[in-house]
């Protein structure tokens, strides 16, 4: 089995979750974390992360500041805002609901067969 591509719309949720758990992170850190969490099953082009970060920032879910990375390089650090946490909670609930329903549906099909 090859690496799965990231489904549309889920990347934003992953970014928010990451920032909520890990605290402020730069883009590289977020990308790494997503890959690691998925057990390297998920492959993302790191470049695709930036439009998502911009969108979240425009929506006010995350905020950013320039800082210095662990290897002493200048990098932009993103952190989750209060609005972002609220959005994360809402979307998590929604996602769990959807995946629960999907799981049940898929099980149903197996039973029917």
């Amino acid at each position: 089995m090859g690496k799965a591509a990231v489904r549309q719309g889920t990347l934003a949720l992953m970014v928010l979750q990451c920032l909520d758990v890990l605290g402020p992170q730069h883009g590289y850190g977020i990308a790494r974390r997503i890959e690691q969490t998925s057990g390297d099953l998920l492959s993302i082009n790191h470049g695709t992360l930036y439009p998502v970060l911009l969108k979240l920032e425009q929506e006010g879910s995350i905020a950013s500041d320039w800082g210095v990375s662990e290897n002493k390089r200048k990098a932009k650090f993103y952190r989750i805002t209060r609005a972002g946490k609220k959005q994360l909670r809402a979307e998590t609930r929604e996602w769990q609901q959807t995946s629960g329903i999907m799981a049940r549906f898929l099980a149903l099909r197996e039973e029917a067969e």
Binding site: G27, N71, Q87
Partner: protein
């Protein structure tokens, strides 16, 4: 909240103009560095680590592009870029952009100003609340050409199911006593319910009410806002105060709102109640001329109102004297249509001119843009090759066109504001208020934008360019020919009107019409005449003054049925109407009306010793064909018969355009004729031929009049002014149409010039080959001129068709000019063809100067 916030951020981001770029690059670089560090730590060489980092990050440029799309709205971002590019192109190619903007500015400016005139004449809504329910109620007396409501009908047509209360009004001139002088003002005499029907409330005081509208009621008056400010110092305490008018005291009850106009569109200075006697309000007696207004009841159509009132009309007619019965028809039309009835045909014609001029300007700019697009085929193919989508290029061309459009509109509005400021300086505009209000400006901008969109699309559409340009130019030629024909017809019309002989002296003649009502001469006009004659004859410069009760050419005078002694009078009231005018013995000499046979009046006739009449030639020809009218008796139906003693030449006695009516002159002081007929104006009319300056004479006359009685009001003017006044409308039409036709022709000629220059460039190779094969320059010139000739012919054909189709629009304005006059149509077309050929001379000459060797080598 979140989508809104994002929308706002993106909107702002659309115009960031690349400010984010350094930060984005830095962030990506930092990311790549961190990735590289990671791979180095994993044991790769620095080069390999960098390569691996690149791989993991993915393509940088597409990521950046995605980022940019997120940052703003791509459409807006492209627009911004296109706009910047368009502005750059406009600056770089002033040869295209400046003429385009100029043409648009002139076209839009002229069209907008004209539209403002049309609006003021025709489209402006009435200022009354729910004015679409208001209707004008009149009856048309065909024999007298009077469109009015008889007082008897007004009195008896109340309480219909279709209409609310029927209100009536009339407009006359009254003398208002102001501090130190008496001023002549227009007064609206209104029924007590008129303001209620119109739903007009006074801005101060109370309105005129039904209780005021009786002959016995205390006299009340309402002031217009303007006279209240000018004569009464805008003093709120005038309410309840007394003012004098025509020698009577009136109590001021209220002040009208500033925008108030009478239902017919007239402005008045005062309103007083009609206060009609009971006998006027019934049928079977004398009739007073009024104009009716009413509101349709909710849900009632105008046809229902017509049907119901037609029945009433039938009943009324049966009770009326015979004279009012014939040829009377009911007219119920929306009040707005009634208020604009006189200007409708002019307004329609002007409105079509607006559209034509806008189309010509649009076609012209479209031609320019198409030409430019043709010159940029190379540029476009490079852009396509570099990956620009067709839509993107179309958007780009569209933006360029619209940029020109917007600049043209801005400049055009400036032109329009200038024109609107200048228009009232033309003395004969005939519309009192021409303004550019927001609705006019909005309409102008919308129409111009639509037009701009049209011409911007032209280069984008996948059409053969030269053919499109040819079609555009042919269209321009056609439209301008239509305008030019209209202008030519109107010029001919003016010339015809100018050539009308009045039949009386126009130069060196001052006339005065004195209003006697409410003055001490009201019942003794002869006393005033004697006094005036005594004073004026003692004044140098006044040669032979005379008096009358009315004057040509305005159609005033008494109009009555013709009767002749010794002839049976079968159907008494079906006969022609003749003008009856009372004049003194010097009248014909003073007015310069030649005597054809017999004699005019003598002093003895004036004393009433004999009942004599002088008739005009039309009357003599019509009723005494082949006979000598002298000695016969006329105008004796219900009156004593009068014996004809002389025949004089015709005068224009029924307005400028109409042929002379039969006319009977009676001695001024003889017993006035009775027995029906309609008198439109009364009072003392003075005719004063002058040796010197007529204006000075008019001033002197006013001084004499004031010396006799400061309360006397007179309308003094030179006959020249009055006669020219009748031609002012046609003169205005000529000014407007000549201007616009000239503008359109100019634009069409630049169009011809442009398209032929374009063609010469495109056919350079062909021309080179022809010349190399021995064609002489004159052959090449003929080639190009032939093209121009064909274009002009096509344009002329379409334009002629348009002119013929539109001829009905203009016909009603013309006097003895045929709107489809073949000579006019042919000569205008010939001029158009000649102009088109002139415009192509330069391109033709240029083509013939091409060096064949050079052009062939260049290919």
């Amino acid at each position: 909240m979140r989508p809104l916030r994002r929308f706002w951020k993106r909107l702002v981001g659309s115009f960031s103009g690349g400010r984010h770029e350094p930060a984005l690059a830095e962030e990506i670089e930092a990311h790549l560095q961190l990735l590289t560090d990671h791979h180095i730590a994993m044991g790769l060489s620095s080069d390999d680590a960098r390569r691996a980092a690149r791989l993991e990050f993915g393509h940088i440029e597409p990521a950046k592009e995605l980022y940019r799309d997120q940052l703003g709205f791509p459409l807006l971002r492209n627009l911004g870029r296109d706009l910047r590019f368009a502005c750059r192109m406009l600056r770089r190619e002033p040869a295209v952009s400046i003429p385009a903007i100029l043409v648009l500015a002139l076209g839009i400016g002229a069209a907008t100003a004209l539209y403002a005139v049309v609006y003021a004449m025709w489209l402006r809504p009435l200022s009354y609340p729910d004015s679409q329910q208001l209707v004008s109620v009149t009856t048309y007396f065909a024999a007298y050409k009077i469109d009015a409501l008889g007082s008897g009908d007004y009195g008896t047509w109340q309480g219909t199911r279709a209409l609310g209360p029927l209100a009536a009004y009339n407009i006359d001139v009254a003398g208002l006593s102001a501090p130190g002088e008496t001023i002549e003002v227009h007064r609206g005499q209104i029924s007590g319910n008129l303001l209620d029907v119109l739903r007009v409330s006074p801005s101060l005081g109370r309105p005129i009410q039904p209780a005021d509208d009786h002959p016995q009621s205390p006299r009340v008056v309402m002031l217009s806002d303007r006279i209240w400010r000018e004569q009464f110092g805008a003093d709120p305490s005038v309410i309840g105060r007394s003012t004098r008018m025509d020698g009577e005291a009136y109590t001021i009850t209220g002040v009208l709102p500033p925008a108030f106009r009478m239902p017919g569109g007239q402005r008045v200075v005062l309103l007083t109640p009609l206060a009609l006697r009971e006998s006027w309000l019934r049928h079977g007696g004398a009739m007073k001329i009024l104009y009716g207004v009413a509101r349709l009841e909710p849900g009632v159509s105008i046809e229902q109102a017509r049907a119901e009132l037609s029945d009433r009309l039938a009943i009324s007619r049966a009770q009326d004297p015979q004279i009012y019965r014939d040829d009377v028809s009911l007219r119920i039309i929306p009040l707005h249509d009634y208020a604009v009835r006189d200007s409708r045909s002019v307004a329609l014609l002007l409105a079509s001119a607006v559209i034509l001029i806008l189309l010509v300007a649009g076609a012209n700019v479209a031609g320019l843009l198409v030409a430019r697009a043709a010159g940029r085929v190379h540029e476009m193919s490079i852009r396509r090759a570099l990956g620009a989508s067709a839509a993107r290029i179309a958007g780009h061309l569209l933006t360029e066109g619209l940029t020109i459009g917007v600049l043209g509109i801005a400049a055009g509005l400036a032109v329009a504001f200038t024109l609107v400021a200048l228009l009232p300086r033309i003395p004969s505009v005939g519309v009192d208020v021409i303004t550019l209000n927001p609705s006019i400006v909005t309409a102008a901008i919308a129409a111009s934008l639509l037009c701009s969109l049209g011409f911007s699309l032209m280069p984008v559409l996948p059409l053969p360019r030269l053919r499109v340009r040819r079609a555009l130019v042919a269209g321009e030629l056609a439209l301008s020919l239509t305008l030019a024909i209209a202008a030519t017809l109107l010029i001919q019309n003016l010339a015809k009107l100018n050539s009308i002989a009045p039949g009386f002296r126009v130069d060196q003649l001052v006339t005065a019409s004195i209003n006697l009502s409410g003055t001490r001469f009201a019942n003794t006009p002869n006393e005033l005449r004697r006094e005036l004659r005594r004073r004026l004859e003692a004044t140098p410069g006044f040669t032979s003054i005379s008096f009358a009760d009315s004057l040509p050419p305005s159609g005033a005078g008494r109009i009555t049925a013709f009767s002749r002694a010794g002839r049976p009078l079968p159907d008494a009231y079906r006969r022609d109407r003749v003008v009856v005018r009372s004049v003194d013995s010097d009248f014909f000499r003073s007015m310069g009306i030649p005597l054809l046979s017999g004699r005019t009046f003598t002093e003895r006739d004036q004393s009433g010793a004999g009942l004599f009449a002088v008739v005009n030639r039309t009357l003599a020809d019509r009723y005494f064909a082949g006979e000598n009218p002298i000695g016969h008796q006329v105008d004796g139906d219900g009156n004593p018969w009068k014996t004809i003693v002389g025949v004089v030449a015709d005068t224009r006695n029924d307005g400028l355009r109409n042929p002379a009516r039969p006319e009977i002159y009676l001695p001024l002081t003889a017993e006035p004729a009775r027995g029906g007929g309609i008198t439109r104006r009364s009072g003392v009319v003075v005719v004063m031929p002058t040796a010197g300056d007529p204006d000075a004479a008019a001033t002197m006359f006013r001084e004499h009049l004031r010396a006799i009685d400061a309360g006397l009001l007179a309308h003094v003017q030179t006959m020249d002014e009055e006669w020219r006044g009748l031609q002012s409308g046609p003169r205005f039409q000529v000014i407007v149409f000549s201007g616009f036709a000239g503008l359109a022709l100019l634009m069409a000629c630049t169009g011809v010039y442009g398209v032929l220059s374009h063609m010469v460039v495109l056919r350079r190779r062909e021309i080179g080959v022809r010349m190399a094969l021995g064609a002489r320059p004159v052959d090449v010139q003929r080639l190009i001129l032939r093209e121009a000739f064909l274009l002009a012919l096509a344009g002329a054909a379409i334009g002629l068709a348009g002119a013929v189709a539109g001829s009905r629009l203009i016909e009603s304005l013309l006097y003895e000019v045929n709107a489809r006059d073949p000579l006019t149509l042919a000569s205008s077309s010939a001029v158009l063809v000649a102009l088109a050929i002139c415009a192509s001379l330069l391109p033709a000459w240029r083509a013939s100067r091409e060096d064949p060797a050079q052009t062939l080598r260049a290919e």
